[in-house]
Amino acid sequence: MRRLGLLFATLALAAGIACAGESRVPKPVVHIENPGSCVAPAEEMRRNHMVMLKHQRDKTMRHGERGAKVSLNGCIECHASKRNGSVLGGKENFCESCHAYAAVKLDCWDCHQPKAGYKAAATETPPGGFKP
């Protein structure tokens, strides 16, 4: 909830600046690769995606409920940029562009894989980068 509050505050502030028409921060470039196929209307997603993800994350991880409509990997598959296959990487990438604009830290990708359909390169290296 704290994060959510922060986001709203930031958005409100950003909106205020934008309305004044003198924003020094360029608006985020949100390019939807597959329009019209999201789990909820864009308006709702914009406001509530973090709540939906958090709700589902606890269900999936703590209770093992899989295959739900809301899924972080689902987001990535749809929203990863066609250019670099990721939701991160630059101002045009879906997650990064908006979060950079709203100045809200993205914590997901420290652990989650931000690339769609990612397969780790086949490696002969055993754990810890060495051969016992």
Binding site: R62, N73, E77, A121, T125, P126, G128
Partner: protein
């Protein structure tokens, strides 16, 4: 989720199930696994997932289970100091100090019923699912490493460096503690853990300890099995035959 995505997902599940049928170890019936815990229904406390390792079959020098685990869980990062690298499963070679009898076995999180890591975790990030799988909630893990001090099996690793090569279904990252998940993302789909499937000797048997009709329960009734550090009375989910 879009219609096309749903279709793709369904197809992938069917393909995975088909592949599972082909490669699954003889003696395990897929129906039994799927029946106990159908995909997407969630973990049930009627089930207690466990594993029986037959150390008489486990071959010294073979680390197929380790390789399969690393591939499945995306543990592929390069680490300069091997002592700082993550190992979810490892092969231990044992020699009896008196008799000289040798053993070789895989060691990983033992998925205790009374896990010390869960007891000591200050935030509740270490937790046990209803079906007995012990996991780390990386969303609230603060990286204090108290669980690593508490684990009697040295089963946990701390991620010492930023990662970019995670497998999509196995999130893991800098500053958090991690361990064997019993391939929870596969088990929830009705599959077996990667190590079990990969063992060329068929030395690892995975299944429901609570179901008397499961292969693992029947086998445990037949052969002598050991809980490692049984003196601690942790009621582990992973048991060993032959040591």
């Amino acid at each position: 989720m879009s219609q096309s995505n749903n279709n793709r997902r369904g197809f992938m599940a069917a393909a995975a199930a088909g592949a599972g049928f082909v490669v699954i170890a003889p003696g395990i019936r897929l129906i039994e696994l799927a029946g106990a815990n159908a995909p997407s229904k969630g973990a049930s406390d009627k089930v207690r997932w466990g594993m029986l390792v037959d150390t008489t079959k486990c071959a010294p020098g073979c680390d197929a289970c380790v390789g399969a685990c690393n591939k499945e869980n995306g543990i592929v990062e390069q680490v300069a100091d091997p002592r700082q690298g993550a190992q979810w499963i490892r092969k231990i070679d044992l020699v009896d100090a008196k008799t000289g009898k040798q053993h070789s076995l895989p060691m990983m999180c033992q998925h205790c019923a009374h896990p010390p890591c869960v007891d000591v975790c200050p935030t509740g990030a270490s937790f046990k699912r209803a079906d007995g799988i012990v996991l780390v909630d990386r969303h609230i893990c603060i990286g204090c490493r108290y669980c690593m001090m508490a684990c009697p099996y040295k089963a946990r690793s701390f991620v010492h460096q930023p990662l970019t090569t995670q497998a999509p279904e196995v999130p893991r990252g800098l500053g958090c503690v991690e361990a064997c998940t019993l391939c929870v993302h596969r088990v929830d789909k009705g599959q077996q853990p990667a190590c079990t499937e990969a063992c060329p000797q068929g030395a690892m048997l995975f299944g429901d300890l609570n179901d008397p009709a499961s292969d693992i329960s029947k086998r445990l009734k037949e052969v002598a099995s050991t809980q490692v550090r049984a003196d601690l009375k942790l009621d582990v989910g992973v048991r060993y035959h032959g040591i």
